[in-house]
């Protein structure tokens, strides 16, 4: 590959810091898969917060039909039990899912390919050849920013997998990673 300098390419000392792994080894889905790096642990809090907000909104909206049902029929017990069951399930999800999802997510970078794995039941492993990167976005919502996190969004020229998201990275690390990937992979972008 030609090594013409890309705009915005940082000095390559960054690649050294990129490869320096913080070695949080997690159990991998693939038999014989080598060390995947996990996301920043704070992402569990982020996801939990997202799901809490969702559960609160959803529970609130659900209260409307419950109320109407209660008024119509005059019986309050069963609708209330139903609502509690649903909220209980959501509560379990809030407790359990983020931690499990955190363990499922992982990424691995070498000089040619970025691998991202995810999924609890429906698992996937996406392999992105770095020379196929068209551009990289760095996204951080308000809660993410508050936690010091950011997501990377990778764009390829592909069709189904044209957009690949890697969430829950520590913000400065996300920036480093982006700069590194743009420098390494961007050299044949059009």
């Amino acid at each position: 590959m030609a090594d013409e300098a890309m705009p915005g390419a940082e000095p390559s000392e960054l690649s050294a810091t990129i490869e320096a792994p913080d070695q949080t080894l997690t159990p991998t889905i693939e038999a014989g898969a080598e060390e995947f790096q996990s996301l920043d642990p704070r992402v569990v809090r982020l996801w939990r917060l997202h799901q809490l907000i969702f559960a609160a909104v959803f529970g609130g909206v659900l209260l409307i039909p419950l109320f109407m049902l209660g008024v119509r029929s005059g019986r309050w017990l069963w609708p209330l039990v139903g609502w509690l069951v649903i909220m209980g399930l959501l509560g379990i999800r809030v407790c359990w899912h983020p931690r499990r999802a955190y363990r499922a997510w992982g990424y691995r970078l070498d000089e040619k390919v970025l691998e991202i794995r995810q999924g609890i039941w429906f698992r996937s492993l996406t392999l992105l050849p770095l020379s196929r990167l068209q551009h990289v976005d760095l996204d951080a919502g308000p809660i993410e920013r508050g936690l010091g996190l950011a997501s990377l969004v990778f764009h390829t020229a592909g069709t189904q997998n044209a957009i690949i998201v890697l969430p829950g990275l520590e913000a400065s690390r996300a920036r480093q990673l982006r700069d590194h990937l743009v420098a390494v992979g961007g050299d044949d972008a059009v």
Binding site: I29, V113, G119, S124, L127, P129, S131
Partner: protein
């Protein structure tokens, strides 16, 4: 890339070439006949108001002032277009300018130009002019339409644009490049009238429906108990008899004639359509470029550099497979997929070809394919069992549903669960599809084969592969298998490479990593 003018990198490296083949800066304007053709073109859009004025113009018809206004506008716009339209090649860009009051200026980086298509309608041909459409990877439709130019001028433009491109843009694996930019065109394949008739006959949807119907009828005849079958026939007959009692004696004859006529007309339309579209079809190769030229009334020609093939599909529909014929489709990175593409024949690279020609023909489209032989591999045999299980569940539900309906309406009989009789067929079907499902992973190309009645064969140049993905459902996990997907750009004509399900996990993982690494070691190239 962020805010970086995309042309600067590659093209400025070769400024001498960018100056154009003629040595002087390339500039030009439209052919004087633009006055006529542009006026005719925009007249079409004023046709409705003109007719409306003619009819409702309170009797004074052609003398109504609006009539003249509507007539004058197209002429005016044609005159403006002809007088103001200029184009030039400058600094690695194709720049077009037109307009008096609102000036439009468009800069198209030459590196982005995918193709300059040349089309020539019947009227154009009388006067020796063409429409040139500059195609880029961006979205739908041409980026610029130069209409009309003389044929020679269009060729000159095409040459100037493509020769200004850096020759070594993409490192071809088994490359034949560099030394022969002006090589003579070598004809790969022409399609004669007889084959076009075949194309029309086999592309006809009506015909394939009829064949399936005939096959299905024979099937029903064998499977359904005689009494039930006869009852159906009787009921159908009674209905027709009732109709004929109402509408006259011999309803059969016109009905039959109607059906035959319908089939003949639709087959005829399909054949004529195929001949009109693809008349004198020629696929040629000139250096790296594949050139196509075809058309009876409207002649079309287009260029496709071989390296820009994202994915190639050899498609054998049911009818074509029986006749040992196939169609070749390719994807380019410009993903325009619409009716227009199909109507203009751009969705196929080669509309029809004999299957036994493929081994000699494909390496001309995909260089290095002949030396890239890799053994065909099959997926896990569990595919049969899993497919059969899925099919069985569907059939059991169907049979149960039918039985329940019959039980509700009248007394059910044992053969109301007839879907279950199809179980052996489903098993056989899964065995057949398993046998024809395979992949071959070479150094430069990844190939897949699939299908039971119709077949599809996909060939994916790895340097145009985008991402590799492995997916695993909970059911997959129990069988230790996964599905492997390769993503490509475009996909509008081939539908993308199929995912390969039921691959043993370790094998898939090793394969995915080697594919991603091979793809990553090459540069992806739009041009």
């Amino acid at each position: 890339m962020p805010s970086e003018p995309p042309t600067s990198g590659g093209l400025d490296a070769n400024p001498s070439q960018a100056a154009g083949a003629a040595g002087a800066p390339f500039r030009g304007r439209l052919h004087p006949l633009t006055l006529v053709f542009a006026a005719l073109d925009s007249l079409k859009s004023f046709l409705v108001p003109i007719i409306a004025v003619g009819i409702f113009g309170r009797g004074d018809g052609a003398m109504h002032p609006l009539f003249w206004v509507f007539l004058a506008l197209p002429v005016y716009s044609a005159v403006v277009r002809y007088l103001t339209f200029r184009y030039r090649l400058d600094q690695g860009e194709l720049i077009t300018k037109h307009g008096i009051i609102a000036r439009h200026e468009r800069h198209i980086p030459l590196a982005r130009v995918q193709d300059i298509r040349i089309e020539q309608g019947v009227l154009h041909r009388l006067f020796g002019v063409v429409e040139a459409q500059v195609e880029t990877g961006a979205g739908k439709g041409p980026e610029a339409s130069l209409s009309v130019l003389s044929r020679a001028e269009a060729e000159r433009l095409r040459q100037a644009v493509f020769e200004s491109l850096p020759a070594g843009a993409g490192a071809t694996p088994a490359a034949t490049r560099g030394g022969e930019p002006m090589a003579a065109a070598e004809i790969i394949r022409t399609i004669g009238l007889r084959e076009l008739v075949l194309e029309g006959l086999t592309s006809n949807r009506m015909a394939s429906v009829l064949v399936l119907f005939a096959v299905g009828l024979g099937f029903v005849d064998d499977l359904v108990p005689r009494e039930r079958y006869e009852q159906w026939l009787r009921e159908g007959g009674e209905m027709v008899a009732r109709l004929s009692a109402r509408y006259g004696e011999s309803l059969w004859i016109p009905l039959g004639l109607l059906a035959v006529a319908g089939v003949l007309v639709s087959v005829g339309i399909s054949v004529v359509g195929s001949i009109v579209l693809f008349h004198r079809f020629t696929l040629a190769r000139r250096g790296e470029d594949l050139q196509r030229r075809y058309g009876l009334l409207r002649q079309r020609s287009s260029n496709l550099p071989r390296r820009r093939i994202q994915l190639l599909k050899v498609e054998e529909g049911l009818l074509r497979r029986w006749l040992r014929l196939a169609t070749i489709r390719v994807d380019t990175a410009s993903g325009a997929s619409d009716e227009e593409e199909r109507k203009s024949g751009r969705d196929v690279l080669l509309p029809i070809v004999r299957r036994d020609e493929l081994p000699a023909l494909l390496p001309q489209l995909l260089p290095g394919l002949e030396g890239d032989a890799a053994p065909w591999r099959q997926v896990s045999r569990r595919a049969i069992r899993r497919g059969f299980l899925k099919g069985s569940i569907a059939l059991v539900f169907l049979a149960g549903g039918l039985f329940a309906v019959e039980a509700l309406l009248r007394a059910p009989r044992w053969f109301d669960i007839w879907p279950l009789f199809l179980l052996p067929a489903v098993y056989w079907l899964n065995v057949i599809s398993y046998r024809h499902l395979g992949y071959a992973s070479g150094r430069f190309y990844f190939q897949t084969r699939r299908g039971w009645l119709g077949r599809a064969w996909h060939i994916l140049p790895l340097r145009n592969a985008q991402t590799v993905e492995i997916r695993e459902t909970p059911f997959d996990r129990r069988h230790g298998v996964v599905t492997l997907h390769l993503d490509t750009a475009g996909q509008s004509h081939t539908g993308g490479a199929p995912g390969i399900a039921n691959l043993p996990r370790a094998e898939a993982l090793a394969l995915a990593r080697s594919l991603a690494r091979t793809a990553g070691a090459t540069r992806y190239c739009w041009r």
